[in-house]
Subunit: 258 residues, 3 copies
């Protein structure tokens, strides 16, 4: 028996929106510790990894490990039927786990919607992601990162990210011209969510596909801040932290004139 | 001479929006009692019937019966040129009734727009709709009904409506899964427009096309509440009541595995 | 060396939006007095002329005449990357003026974006527009003019503008019917931007393409009021005045049954 009840159902809606364009089908791996999903994107370039800790749900019950294979597009469509303030309960039975049950309760409880989503068998190798010490770790407003990715798409398909102690510089060069945005570390006691911090072991300069970065920024509604972790010759990590877990995107840098 | 002046012109705009996708051409039948329109939808499955009582207009003048054949799409386009707060006057002459005149006056009167819409001859049999005692009569928030129809479209093309004394249940079953929404009777003195009432002579369980129901919910802006009337083997009646009249939609239930 | 810094960068964004659908490529002619652009629209029917006076910038520096050939669509895309409150600086070097430099500074200065747009050689004959005494000069709310053009497009592709001392009348006739909007001179001390004034030497009645007029109304966000100047057998002048300059559109009237 698997059952997980989330008071802020809107979070689950946002989470699905932030994954569904990268990944079509994936397993939700449910265990005592929580719900995890890990999947390569459809073109096998980026990796998505999300975790919702069991203590974020009330109640949370998971007797044994469940691997729920879901078409994320269908799940997303069903979650759109939940109100942003609805309480969402996820359910699967031991015996007949070929359905994921979803219950949406409006806060005042006068409307209860129940959905069943057919599950599928998904073969999926689990990649272990090694813990890494990154050369540069940036924390910045997520909306700002989203905007930079969107803006620079005007100029080019890829962006260079250059991090020094003094600044993070995003640069794009293309046929119509070039563009760059430079951010300096700032901290605001009044508005901590607007601060920009740089932790640096070593200056880095790496190039990434703007299409993928823009896709990752679908996670923006999940968190005021985004964390970017970079090292030479290592995949970039883009992380949006939530109260009850996180979503992480990994993307390998472009090399040379790719 | 036909002349009808409506202070809340915005109502006429909403009304046209609620009909124009179901019906292309129709006659506005004008008489002393008011303006009526009755038409089958383009695929002859649903029936639309609307009435605007003469006492809702000031002034209202109709010397003899007028049947004004109108392309609803063209009329809708012209009505979109009226402001939501404009006073709208409809006009037709005895002699040269091949035009419907429309006058839009802004509330402060500094702008007056005049339009003429060419009329057309439309052959139309008038169906008499018998007065019916329904097994179940539901009154519920129109926005809630609209949302249920939209949500369940995710799952299937048709919906079952099951009414008992305790609840109304909307259920849809499809390839990706199933969904259901259950409403219980509620009443609110503070917000009567949010109440749900069930009047029941006999429990009913009927199935309808969601495409048509969704189309009917274009009437949602006309009224806070919608009335659903159901009987076994009878067309469903969906009614939006306005201060000056109503719009009614009729739809036959689906039978068996249609 | 050319450098022009505009505190209200949003103005430049609106300006480009108001030109970019009429003209693809054009020269910005920069001199001591300011920045000017003049171009026929792509189908050589309408003329656009805009001026930004040097005193509207701070600082403004232009050592010699510069003619900066720009693809307006690309420039517009880059300007969309500027925030509405950003300070925008335009730059070109003496030596290597094959790029237009753009710097966007956020008001609080924590973000600085720099773009370079490649310039192009554009052959362009400069048309001298003679100063004209017009028969009729109308000043009216720009949003009202925009709305009239949009509304009458429902009925026809062209509009007649009839000006007398008492009123301005816009009339359109088409297959589905006809429409007309009549405005009377009004003045409001409280809301001068809503006033309608007519200056008339001689009554005029002229017909214009609604497609072009609608395109001109892209200038609406630049000014609360628009000026229409008409004379028989002369191009119509549509002008939006800004604090630091103007944008003018010219359009020849339609003749006969064109």
């Amino acid at each position: 028996m698997f059952e997980a009840r989330l008071t802020q159902g809107g979070l689950l809606k946002k989470l699905l929106e932030s994954v569904k364009e990268l990944v079509t089908d994936a397993n939700f791996d449910c265990s005592e510790t929580g719900i995890a999903l890990q999947a390569m994107d459809n073109s096998h370039v980026a990796l998505v990894s999300l975790l919702l800790r069991s203590d974020g749900f009330d109640p949370y019950r998971c007797d044994r490990g469940f691997s729920l294979g879901v078409n994320l597009n269908s799940l997303n469509k069903i979650l759109r039927c939940a109100g942003n303030d609805d309480i969402i309960t996820l359910k699967a039975d031991d015996n007949s786990a070929d359905n994921l049950g979803l219950i949406f309760e409006s806060p005042t409880n006068e409307r209860v919607s129940e959905y069943e989503l057919k599950l599928m068998d998904i073969d999926q190798e689990h990649l272990s992601i090694p813990d890494t010490e990154y050369d540069a770790t940036i924390i910045m407003p997520s909306a700002e990162f989203q905007r930079i990715c969107r803006d620079l798409t005007v100029v080019s398909e890829s962006v260079s990210i250059d991090v020094t102690k003094e600044s993070i510089k995003f640069t794009a060069e293309g046929e119509v011209g070039s563009g760059s945005v430079k951010l300096k570390p700032t901290s605001s006691i009044d508005k901590p969510e607007e601060s920009v911090t740089i932790e640096l072991a070593q200056a880095v300069s790496l190039q990434f596909s703007l299409k993928y970065l823009t896709n990752f920024t679908k996670g923006t509604p999940l968190s005021d801040q985004v964390m970017l972790c970079l090292s030479e010759n290592m995949p970039l990590l883009v992380e949006y932290k939530m109260d009850i877990g996180y979503i992480r995107y990994y993307l390998a840098p472009k090399i040379g004139d790719e």
